[in-house]
Amino acid sequence: MSDPRAEHGLESRLARLESIVERLEREDLELLEALSLFEEGIAHVREARAVLERTRLRVERLVIELNGAVSLEPQAE
């Protein structure tokens, strides 16, 4: 089982959530397995909602120094 709190892309999180829902709906699972899938699914729902509620775009700027060093700087809005 994958850790629902890991840094998933939103899409892979949604895909995992939907496959959990399908398994729960379709397969005849052991109760314990069903419960742990349910818990994982709920965690994905919670994390996905948290992502969706983030409303401020973050902008970073890649800066190439004269000596070739590259750094990422957050850009002030």
Binding site: E7, S12, G41, R56, L57, I64, V70
Partner: protein, 413 residues
């Protein structure tokens, strides 16, 4: 040798006889020019008397020197003229013209003194056919990249769904960047946009774009890249038709969406990119998901999740209940004897248990760790203790401790 001497003599004679006419009959001392002097004189005459002009013709024998100067011939059916395009101007050409290409050249007529040839020093060169040199350069590069397989459909990578970090290579001050940021913020504001700035037009722009792409691919930790600019003329967009940009797109480790704002003409960047969008806004729409749609998916999945488990639990509960009923019907009698034995054992255990003593009215004092406090001295160590009585606990505070002479407790230890 004597033949050539005779020729010189003849020419000298002719010059002498014509001399009076050349300066309106004014007498003039006989002048003998060196060859260099003559050529300088002719060059000065040409330079002074002919302003720069346009000449139309076909290109032949194009040659580029190691220093980048280009030498060629312009000709029509009857005549030809030598031309030179110096390196500085040659760099402005999108590509070298093909042999026989119909062009117009703008330049000054002058004399190449060391050879005595007259030539056109070209400052501008343009093809007369539609698209001209731009078209030709495009086709040449397209064919080259195609031969290497860089345009093959199977090289196209799918865009990541719901990227966390989106890279943008464009001018930091252009409208293209603002368009991308606006669309991403509207649709998927949880995304991080990483800007890798580059000049997108002017000399050297192709190198800046390529470097910005490379840096973004190596250090930006992005899932997908948008490279582009707002619209512009063919010349403005030219950096996106350069080989440097094409190769940087091809070697980018993540999928690239080109967004050169020009619907009509396809650029080389468009052909190499994994996807082509007509404008920077369209590219952003293609790259990030629509937050509304994602929200609907989450809500729907959550509802189904709860429904599925509720259904499953109800089903299991019925199963469990049925099983328990059966169990009690079948097993009660067989279990009865064991229940009885268990009851008897419990009675005995209870008689031995400290609970029995408690029932008779004794209490046990314990400190907060559960240690039994047996002696008066034990109560000096902490002001609080706990009394365990038959049906519960009493939290107590020590008011005073008085020791008696009895040391009876030591027997227990």
């Amino acid at each position: 040798m004597s033949g050539s001497l005779d020729l010189f003599a003849a020419a000298e004679a002719e010059r002498q006889t014509r001399r009076p006419d050349s300066r309106g009959g004014e007498p003039e001392p006989r002048t003998t020019y060196s060859v260099s002097g003559l050529n300088r004189l002719v060059r000065e005459l040409l330079d002074a008397s002919l302003p720069p002009l346009w000449v139309a013709g076909e290109v032949a024998n194009w040659k580029r020197s190691p220093r980048g100067h280009c030498y060629f011939t312009l000709r029509d059916a009857q005549a030809q003229v030598r031309c030179v395009l110096f390196a500085k101007e040659a760099r402005q050409l999108p590509t070298e013209p093909a042999e026989g290409m119909r062009v117009r050249a703008f330049g000054a007529v002058t004399l190449y003194e060391s050879r005595g040839d007259y030539q056109l020093v070209v400052r501008e060169l343009e093809a007369r056919d539609s698209g001209g040199l731009w078209r030709l350069a495009f086709e040449r590069l397209r064919q080259k990249l195609e031969a290497e397989g860089l345009l093959a459909p199977e090289r196209k990578r799918p865009l990541p769904l719901g990227p966390r970090r989106v890279g943008v290579v464009t001018s930091p001050v252009g409208a293209a960047l603002q368009d991308v940021l606006r669309v991403v913020e509207q649709r998927a504001p949880w995304t991080t946009v990483v800007v890798s700035p580059a000049r997108v037009q002017g000399e050297g722009a192709e190198l800046e774009i390529a470097a910005a792409l490379d840096a973004l691919g190596r250090h930006g930790r992005v899932d997908v890249v948008i490279v582009g600019r707002g619209g512009g003329s063919v010349e403005d967009l030219w950096a996106f038709n350069r080989e440097e940009v094409a190769r940087a797109i091809a070697r980018c480790p993540v999928p690239v969406v080109s967004a050169v704002g020009h619907e009509v003409d396809v650029t080389i960047a468009d052909l190499v990119a994994d996807q082509r969008a007509a404008t920077p806004s369209a590219a952003a729409e293609r790259v990030v998901p629509d937050g509304e749609a994602v929200g609907r998916r989450v809500r729907s999945a959550a509802a189904r999740l709860e429904g599925a488990l509720g259904h499953r639990l109800a089903h299991r509960r019925r199963e469990l209940m049925g099983a328990l009923d059966g169990l009690s019907r079948c097993m009660t009698r067989r279990l009865e004897a064991r229940f009885n034995r268990l009851a008897r054992a419990t009675d005995k255990l209870e008689a031995l248990s400290p609970l029995a003593a408690l029932r008779r009215g004794y209490a046990v004092a314990q400190d907060e760790t559960g240690r039994v406090l047996r002696r008066a001295d034990d109560f000096r160590r902490s002001s609080r203790f706990r009394l365990r009585v038959l049906d519960g606990r009493v939290e107590c505070r020590v008011e005073d401790v008085v020791e008696t002479e009895e040391r009876g407790g030591s027997r227990d230890e």
